[in-house]
């Protein structure tokens, strides 16, 4: 609990300061922003999954009421949207990176691809004019299924001669094959990790404002990382120097990964704003979001797990097809490789592991990082195959896990797939979860369900993930085209209040509270005297933004580093004023004290002395109290834990009810337990959504069948039980806060627990597998099929 004088320090469940404006409807979202003389953009999109563009006639649209300009791909001679991570094939050659023009040139490659943009005085006029654009399409066969795409024939990108983006591998294939051949038992599984559509509450939006007086561009956009957008859009696409391009990501209503990436629309309107000399607003409607926000997951995998006579895992071999969609999105290539296959050891001591990943282009919306990004796919695969191995070998679900878990004294633990875990205690989280979830009472609950004609099942997931992304040198060696540090500036004002500028971005995470708690704790000042400023490249030093559960582990560490510099300088000022040696200055609870004396100065007094430096060590220090730090992590962090799910299945309808869900997560030190609990609730809700409800579906022509909430099932309150959530933490060893990250654990740990529970419930019928989403229709069919 709090050790700061204000009671708002590390460990305190402080109410979120940002909620005052969010809950009273006074947030400032991108679509709330209007600039003088603003125009509105509407993007005409392809209705076809795959077609040549024979011609586009924009004449009538250009003359329509209120139209300012109409542009097509032929007008926009700029660079393509770049991919931020270069993957090499197993043979050493680089992956294919086909062009990704913001407005389609020559061909459209998925339903929703951008064909033209109409800019008008009003959105209604832009939409009316767009209906006047005549596009002559030469419709081509669409390629949707990954294995069909791999075989060739129809090519999404003709120039590269293949639909395979890369064919990548990690691990010792020969050793794995040998170990599998020598294993007493080999469990095999086919896994589909279903494609998800992100559905942040706020659809994407952007306002671009070119100022001809000084040739400066300002882009307001729904981004998780405005500096990254400035860098990618400025340097790679539009050739705009950074000092003339300001990117602002104001309040953002959820991202879940989908707002990491550089998108076509924000790029188009930034470019077009200079062409027309007026501001332009573009706001996606929900239907556009379904067909343009980067989708998530979409893996098809075959795996083999070897087990010896003693029940120990001997080897794991994984072959995965990963859908890239029609174009390479910003970080798409890294998700099924370094964010996925490197996690395949899980919490287990499997000595040798090999994974091959084939990334495939199809005529679908691009796929990229979505809450968990690669790690949910790894956890799902592992926890499903371990579950099946236990059933096949007649070993208890908990016993097979405990028997193969990395021991608490084995850290740091080097896995066979590159990662080295710094800390953890998987047995402890498992024990806590068994207790919290009242697993000892399960048999009675199962009997109770049976009296109602319902089948009850229990499923476990003892998962791990890697986050706190990422050590730049490691990421760079693996192909990342960016560094992955974070930055913080702590600006102390003359009367002792503080403004923090962080390169992290908050779009629901509550940084304005958590980061203020850290500063309150470090500097011993009250929360209300601290302001957290983020999201504006015009006033925040370069930062890498928020994704991969990195804000606290990386951004928070940068913040502590910056407050440390403040304390160091302030101590020297205090020593000068109190005529003591700096070594004798103690800083505690916001006061600088000369050790062993009653001489003391408050933090605010030192701040004033720094800005009114009448009595100041000018020969040693500069005036002012304003420090910046950049922090590059030494390693990833490794949150993990145990999720336990109990389901009740109604065999008459196939309806699955999640009746009990327990999550005990090791996320390192907890700064704000209330925010942590909220993060886990949200993540688990998304995980249950993936497991039971959400499934993106295309028909063979590439039309999205789940293009609205009429057909795409989001989790709702009545799909969820009251969660039992707790933390059982070991500390991260390589950052000063000991934090690991919590943003993604819920979505990573929960899906396999749910599916394992359903398989358990249906085991009486002989059902061995059920794919996600386990809809009632699918469950009912599985029961019918098993009954024969």
């Amino acid at each position: 609990m709090p050790d700061g004088v204000t009671g708002t320090g590390i460990g305190a469940a402080v109410k979120r300061v940002e909620d005052q404006r969010f809950l009273t409807g006074r947030g400032n979202y991108t679509d709330d922003i209007n600039r003088p003389g603003q125009t509105y953009a509407y993007v005409l999109r392809s209705p076809h999954a795959h077609a040549t563009i024979k011609s586009i006639d924009t004449a009538a649209a250009s003359e329509a009421s209120g139209v300012v300009a109409v542009f097509t791909g032929a007008d926009m001679e700029v660079g393509g949207l770049p991919c931020g991570w270069l993957i090499h094939n197993e043979d050493g050659s680089p992956m294919h990176e086909p062009p990704h023009p913001p407005l389609a040139v020559g061909k459209v490659r998925h339903v929703g691809d951008q064909v033209a943009v109409v800019i008008a005085e009003s959105l209604a006029e832009a939409k009316n004019a767009a209906e006047l654009i005549k596009v002559d399409y030469g419709v081509l066969p669409a390629v949707i299924d990954m294995k069909t795409a791999e075989a060739g024939g129809t090519l999404v990108h003709d120039d590269i001669g293949t639909n395979k983006c890369y064919d990548w591998g990690i691990g010792d294939k020969d050793a794995v094959d040998a170990a599998l051949a020598a294993s007493a038992h080999v469990t095999e599984i086919d896994i589909v990790n279903n494609r998800l559509i992100p559905n942040a509450m706020e659809p994407r939006a952007a306002v671009a404002d070119f100022n001809g007086a000084n040739s400066e561009y300002t882009l307001y956009t729904t981004s998780q990382n405005p500096h990254v957008i400035r860098l990618l859009m400025g340097a790679f696409v539009l050739s705009l120097p950074e000092h003339k391009l300001r990117v602002i990501a104001p309040d953002v209503g959820g991202g879940f990964g989908s707002k990491i990436f550089l998108y076509a629309e924000e790029t188009i309107i930034t470019w077009a704003s200079a062409r027309i000399g007026r501001p332009i607003k573009w706001t996606a409607d929900r239907s556009e979001a379904f067909i343009t926000d980067a989708h998530g997951r979409d893996h098809v995998t075959h795996a083999k797990l070897g087990i010896d006579d003693n029940g120990k895992f001997t080897a794991l071999k994984v072959e995965t097809y990963a859908n890239m969609g029609a174009y390479l999105s910003t970080f798409a290539s890294s998700v099924p490789t370094y964010l996925y296959a490197t996690l395949l050891a899980g919490v287990y001591t499997t000595p040798v592991i090999y994974a091959n990943v084939k990334a495939i282009f199809t005529n679908t919306v691009p796929v990229d990082a979505y809450r968990g990004a690669g790690r949910p796919e790894a956890a799902y695969l592992l926890e499903r195959i371990v579950d099946r191995a236990a059933r096949e070998t007649g070993v208890d679900q908990l016993e097979i896990r405990r028997h193969n878990m990395i021991q608490p004294d084995a850290f740091p633990y080097q896995t066979p797939v590159a990662l080295a875990y710094d800390s953890g205690n998987y047995q402890a989280t498992l024990d806590s979860a068994l207790s919290l979830g009242d697993v000892s009472g399960y048999p009675a609950r199962k009997a109770g369900s049976a009296t109602k004609g319902l089948k009850r099942g229990i499923g476990y997931s003892t998962y791990i993930e890697a986050c706190g992304i990422a050590p730049s040198a490691v990421a760079g060696a693996l192909g990342a085209r960016a560094g992955l540090y974070e930055s913080a500036e702590v600006r102390v004002h003359p009367t002792g209040s503080v403004t923090v500028f962080t390169g992290s971005h908050s779009h629901g995470q509550g940084h304005e509270t958590t980061f203020a708690q850290i500063v309150s704790d470090q500097l011993g000042i009250a929360m209300e005297n601290i302001e957290i400023n983020h999201g504006d490249t015009g006033n925040v030093q370069f930062g890498m933004g928020t994704y991969g559960s990195r804000s606290l582990a990386v951004g928070g560490s940068a913040l502590v580093k910056a407050t440390g510099k403040i304390i160091a300088k302030a101590s020297k000022i205090a020593a000068h004023i109190m005529e003591a040696s700096a070594d004798d200055i103690e800083f505690k609870d916001g006061n600088f004290t000369v050790a062993g004396t009653d001489k003391s100065m408050a933090f605010g007094e030192i701040a004033l002395a720094a800005y009114v430096p009448h009595n100041f060590p000018h020969d040693e220090l500069e005036p002012g109290l304003d420090e910046t730090a950049f922090y590059d992590p030494a390693n990833f962090t490794f949150p993990g834990g145990t999720h336990i799910c109990e389901v009740e299945v109604d065999p008459a309808t196939g309806v699955v009810k999640v009746d009990n869900f327990t999550a005990v997560d090791d996320i390192g030190r907890v700064i704000n337990p209330m925010i942590v609990e909220g993060q886990v609730h949200g993540g688990v809700a998304q995980g249950i959504g993936q497991a039971l409800l959400e499934g993106c579906s295309y028909d063979s022509d590439g039309q999205l069948l789940t293009g609205s909430y009429m057909d795409y099932t989001m989790p709702r309150a009545d799909n969820l039980p009251n969660f039992k959530v707790a933390t059982q933490s070991t500390l991260c060893t390589h950052n000063v806060l000991g934090v690991k990250g919590v943003g993604e654990v819920g979505a990573i740990g929960s899906p396999p627990a749910v599916i394992n529970a359903i398989v358990d419930a249906l085991s009486d019928f002989g059902v061995k597998d059920i794919s996600m989403p386990a809809t009632s229709a699918k469950v009912w069919q599985a029961i019918q099929d098993a009954r024969g």
């Binding site: 309808t653 057909d711 099932t713 809809t775």
Partner: protein, 264 residues
């Protein structure tokens, strides 16, 4: 949405003449289907003729059965003590339509006139043997629903009320589509003076229909066990990403059993 002329009718006769005068007019009751369709530019009527200002179109009266004015909202039906006292299954059905916003705007006349194949009210109309009253005639439910979004209404004909005979026993059981929460299968069972009728919504290729095999079984023995072993053919049922025809067929019997049990 595209531009259109908005007209607020003062009477049913006004609405009919406005409809006839328009190039391509449409009547708006609660607007719960029409407005999203307009917003998505899937419809572009020349005129939208709003019935909201027409007096006498909403309200509930009891005489033997229940008569519900066409502009009566689902919330009014679900909250009506008259409906609860006469045909509680109808109040339950109304309570399960959409969400609170929809229930406070959507109307029975709009729902019945639209005849969405997954809407709830058509099942009640068909199972209870309701009579749909219009500005010019009365139409039996059996003659009213003519397939997907098709009814016996003439182009310029406007529903004024729907009359339901009282039921000895009745219940509606909906198995919702997990995404839209419309009926994937909805079964209304009713035992009235005219006999036992079972109507199914959400499942039929041609919209709401009566399940004759279930009606036969229940006519001699109105109990869930009477439906054991009784199947509904999957022929002529819808098959889509949410449910196969076979699953829908199975759910019809399962929901019918649950409805019979609920009807007591």
């Amino acid at each position: 949405m595209h531009d259109f002329n908005y007209q607020k009718a003062g009477s049913v006769a006004d609405a009919v003449s406005a409809l006839n005068a328009a190039d391509d007019g449409t009547v708006m009751a609660g607007g719960m289907t029409l407005l999203p369709t307009l917003k998505q530019r899937l419809a572009a009527p020349s005129d939208v003729i709003d019935l909201a200002g027409v007096s006498g179109l909403s309200g509930i009266s009891v005489s033997g059965g229940v008569t519900i004015g066409a502009m009566t909202t689902h919330a009014a039906v679900s909250g009506s003590t008259d409906v609860k006292g006469t045909i509680p299954a109808l109040a339950d059905l109304a309570e399960g339509i959409g969400d609170p916003q929809v229930r406070n705007r959507g109307t029975i006349g709009g729902s019945v006139a639209n005849n969405d194949p997954a809407a709830d009210y058509p099942a009640a109309c068909l199972a209870l043997g309701a009579t749909i009253k219009t500005d010019r005639r009365e139409i039996a439910a059996d003659d009213f629903f003519n397939g997907l979004f098709e009814t016996a209404l003439a182009e310029d004909e406007i529903i004024t009320s729907v009359s339901f005979p009282s039921a000895e026993k009745a219940a509606y059981m909906k198995f919702p589509n997990p995404a839209s929460r419309y009926a994937l299968v909805g079964v209304f069972v009713a035992k009235t003076a005219a006999g036992v009728r079972v109507a199914v919504t959400g499942a039929g290729d041609s919209g709401v229909f009566r399940a004759s095999s279930l009606e036969q079984a229940l006519s001699s023995n109105f109990s869930a066990s009477a439906l054991d072993g009784i199947t509904v053919s999957a022929d002529d049922l819808m098959s889509d990403i949410h449910a196969s025809a076979e699953y829908r067929a199975h759910l019809i019997t399962t929901m019918a059993k649950r409805a019979v049990t609920a009807a007591g």
